[in-house]
């Protein structure tokens, strides 16, 4: 009699963004390797993450414009415990919160930098990593 076979557990899946009607243009831009940010059509102010109304002038009209990819580290963490097992293989990984020159913040993995070299104000640059046909995610490298 054969021993019952046990299927291996499914590989953990990467959590993926579920774009909303507001954020879809941003994710479309990421897929094309362009960092698109939402600007108010009335007062011109930038906002991130995408939202339906401008909190400054309350206009509901907005447009997405390509922004520069440089920024400076605001703070960071080094993730050791993988709260989602997809990230177990890459732990520990640095996640830098960056003050983009474009006036918003982006949180993304910082690659190729030693923990000892991290400091507030360190210059970094945004990169684009396609994870499937639809989704491209951001990361940072030292500038």
């Amino acid at each position: 009699m054969n021993a019952p076979t046990v299927a291996p557990p499914p590989a953990p899946e990467r959590p993926l963004p579920a774009p909303t009607r507001e954020s879809q243009p941003h994710w479309d831009g990421m897929r094309e390797g362009r960092f698109l940010l939402q600007h108010c059509s009335a007062c011109g102010k930038v906002r991130h993450y995408p939202r339906p109304v401008c909190p400054h002038c309350f206009s509901m009209a907005s447009e997405f414009k390509e922004a520069t990819q440089g920024g400076a580290i605001h703070t960071w963490t080094v993730c050791h415990h993988p709260f989602n097992f997809f990230f177990k293989a890459s732990a520990p990984y640095i996640v830098a919160l960056v003050d983009m020159d474009a006036g918003v913040r982006v949180n993304a993995p910082l690659r190729g930098v030693n923990e000892a070299d991290l400091k507030i104000g360190k210059r970094v640059r945004l990169g684009f990593e396609p994870v499937n046909k639809e989704v491209t995610l951001p990361f940072f490298v030292s500038d």
């Binding site: 605001h74 963490t77 080094v78 996640v95």
Partner: protein
Amino acid sequence: MAHPLREAAAISGIGETAYTRGTSKSALALQLEASLAAIADAGLSPRDIDGVVPYFPGGGIAEDFIASLGLPDLKLSLFVPVGGATCVAAIQSAAMAVATGVCNHVLIAVGRTGYSGARVSTRLQQFPQFALAAEFEAPIGMFAPAQLYAQGARRHMELYGTTTRQFAEVAVVTRQHAILNGNVVMNKPLTVEEHHASRMISDPFRLFDCSLESDGGAAIIISRADRARDLKKPLVTIMGVAEGHPESPASIAQRPDLLEFGLVKSAPRAYEMAGVGPKDIDVAEIYDCFTFTVIRQLEILGFCKTGEGGPFIMDGRIGLGGDLPINTHGGLLSQGHVVGLNHAIELTRQLRGEAGRAQVKDAEVGLVTGYGDMGDGSIAILRRAA
């Protein structure tokens, strides 16, 4: 003129289940068990409850309370969905309800299977408050509060020189207090060395900087002050209470100042309503989802200046017998995680003189905070009435 809510309401009953890791009971059962204990503590009948604020999500909803307790005429069913700020913010809502005569006795209740059920740290992404973090941050590997809050802690360390030794002080003192309480998950002493040797979760947070995932229930009853005076236990009134919401409440990453929590707005309002200041506080129960969160809240509360929270908590100041004893029950770090309702319960116990071995001598005025989701902040200032 004094604020109309000042001392208009009281905490008339408190109740808790055992705090454990592992239970066969449902979250609703734990919530009802704690509720019945609080009702008995007040000397009321379940039929007297006419307002319910269940912690949401998790546990039961008002309909469950009507059906389980046979409530004849529930007049108020309310959710206050601001995570860890919920329980203390709910005290404001309940105080409003009893002060205006809408209700007589409002029950605030938590039931949680945070250890034996779905683990809290991974479940949060399903809450609507976390939708933006789920869309923009979870895919790049930032899920849990330990990760999202770590960046603020790191910034405080870089700007002000706050140290892991200071984080450890919060963990160690809180554990000392837990051992005095007895109804706690963590009942063995913790040393600074053990804190430093515990595994890194999300730098700068180590395991012992993080609150517990545990099972348990907790409940309190808010009554109009003049009615509470005639009930079973010593009168503990609500002098001041407030909730506050930070800028960019759904994303810490986009907040202009990561270290500005909702408490920056609510604390001054609560002090003003109460007519007291930090110098008048005999004991403080501070929401301790993480050790650092305690340090920063003490700054915001005005016990010290911004940047001085680390040195402030050292040298015995926050232990029993110190200038400002905090988390005299063991908090979320060592007692159990019932979203901070255990903090309000402990403060009530301290002001009644029922805190046993953890009793702060002559405690008359105390404060309790809640800290929720991405930084919502609630506060209540309570007093032992003459």
